[in-house]
């Protein structure tokens, strides 16, 4: 297998893009990534596009081919990848495989979603396509509900409190204020969070990520072909994908996702690293409680301590392990199919030392993208080449 690096990156703002379609967002991000990739369009040998709900919300499929046509790529294989909210991360992994295997020298990854034009009920219904609708779906469960279930168990097992969970929200919202791409950065107080509308007990409004539009793109290139890249190429040390149970009742433990635990284990092994080597992580905080569970599953925070570490400031920029310096899904936004690619975009900026909320001396970064009720997961580890 050949070594692979990220050269080009691009992203739209995450938020509400009124009057713009999926294609417009995807092409904006992808064209930016191609223009700073240091390879020509002719050299792009494959395109992988992460998208989850363009079918139900926009009635549009075959996006990979449409975007490639707009971009003027060759008659290359163009593949849309779907794995719920992990679609973008999975698209990235496929591009890495295409290059590392020698199938091509460069590949384009795009993640895109358009959600804000639909009603809340339509969005919830579309996102529910990520459940096993033979079992959990008929009960009326929703994704906030899943994390409400998890919260009660976490609280019972580890004594986690409302205000400790709010520390995650306050941190990510504050990080989002510093990120020019973020949709919903804010300065929040414990009181405001405590008084926000109930969504799926104990989950309240500020525990949930917003509904977002957006696209992000990345060009991955064989390490021996990066000499023309205008910006610092970032090494891909690991890009791992796993699956977990499609059903709530299929998880051994509702406060841990096997897919994440396994993906982290494989990623550390592939990179020859341990959790202590990670300088920062962009992880899948679709809900406040999700960040707590993810941080523990990734081994970055001791089991049961996810909320307490946030409350103690150990997960903010400058802390033991900065989590979601971008603002995460909670503040940056969650255009579901784009999120995994957006996390990689943020990680590349950190490793180039160019992030608006920079982690000092960031050398090794991790991204974690989780789909459905823990059915699909990707974990990637990136490295600055001089580390």
């Amino acid at each position: 297998m050949r070594d692979v690096a990220i050269t080009g990156i691009g992203s739209t703002l995450f938020g509400k893009h009124e009057g713009r379609g999926l294609e417009s967002l995807a092409v904006e991000a992808a064209n930016t990534a191609l223009r700073n990739a240091g390879v020509s369009r002719k050299e792009i040998g494959a395109l992988y596009l992460g998208n989850f709900i363009a079918g139900p919300l926009s009635g549009q499929e075959v996006l990979a081919g449409i975007v490639a046509d707009e971009l003027g790529l060759e008659n290359i294989p163009c593949t849309k990848v779907e794995g719920a909210c992990a679609s973008g991360g999975i698209a990235f992994r496929h591009a890495v495989l295409a290059v590392s295997s020698g199938m091509c020298d460069a590949a384009l990854v795009v993640g895109v979603e358009k959600m804000t034009h639909a009603s809340g009920g339509q969005v919830t219904q579309a996102l529910n396509c990520a459940m096993d609708n033979r079992s959990d779906g008929p009960s009326g469960l929703t994704f906030p509900g899943l994390f409400g279930l998890a919260w009660r168990i976490h609280a019972a097992k580890y004594g986690t409190t409302r205000d400790e969970v709010s520390s995650v929200v306050i941190k990510n919202k504050a990080n989002g204020l510093k990120n020019p791409l973020a949709q919903l950065g804010a300065e929040l107080t414990f009181d405001v969070i405590r008084q926000s509308q109930p969504i799926a007990d104990p989950i309240q409004l500020y525990d949930c990520c917003p509904v977002s539009d957006g696209a992000a793109a990345i060009v991955v290139v064989a390490k021996d072909r990066v000499k023309d890249a205008p910006d610092l190429p970032i090494d891909v040390l690991a890009s791992v994908q796993t699956r977990g149970s499609p059903r709530i009742a299929g998880h051994r433990d509702i406060v841990s996702f096997d897919a994440t635990v396994k993906a982290a284990e494989f990623a550390y092994r592939a990179a020859g690293l341990a959790a202590k080597d990670i300088d920062f992580v962009e992880l899948h905080d679709c809900f406040s409680m999700a960040e707590i569970i993810d941080s523990e599953d990734l081994g970055l925070v001791p089991r049961g301590m996810g909320a307490k570490w946030a409350a103690e400031g150990r997960t903010r920029v400058g802390g033991d392990i900065p989590i979601n310096p971008s603002g995460g899904l909670l503040a940056k936004g969650h255009p579901v199919g784009a999120t995994g690619v957006g996390q990689l975009y943020e990680a590349v900026l950190q490793l180039r030392g160019l992030h608006a909320n920079q982690v000092k001396d960031a050398g090794i970064g991790m991204t974690h993208n989780l789909g459905g009720s823990g059915i699909a997961c990707t974990v990637s580890i990136l490295k600055r080449p001089d580390v």
């Binding site: 219904q125 033979r134 009960s139 906030p144 279930l149 799926a200």
Partner: protein, 110 residues
């Protein structure tokens, strides 16, 4: 309508005896295409619960409702409902089947 009279409908593998909450195509243990409808007593304990206050479009008409994960004494975990949005209890609390609604088991605190 307590059509199942205190029993929760599950799947039982006629090859190895494994129980599963279903629906499922083949046995998750021995992979035989031998799953048959079966019933287990509707008694168990509350693993966790939540109240859905923003239902998806298909459930909007119901208003708020409680979803719970129950560990049945028979050794099967099921996702179902509690009989009232105010019904919640301590995790581990005993529950029994109250009724089955559109194939979803609805439990109440025992």
């Amino acid at each position: 309508m307590p059509a199942s009279a205190g029993f929760v409908e599950v799947l039982k593998c006629s090859a190895c005896g494994a129980l599963d909450a279903g629906p499922r195509e083949i046995c998750p243990v021995c992979h035989a295409p031998a799953l048959q409808p079966g019933k287990v007593p509707g008694a168990g304990s509350l693993l966790s619960w939540t109240v859905i206050r923003r239902p998806p479009a298909a459930f909007r008409a119901e208003g708020s409702y409680a979803v719970a994960v129950i560990e049945l004494d028979a050794g099967v975990k099921v996702t179902g409902r509690l009989d009232s949005p105010d019904a919640g209890g301590q995790l581990g609390a005993r529950v029994v089947l109250a009724e089955s609604k559109n194939g979803v088991p609805v439990f109440r605190l025992a």
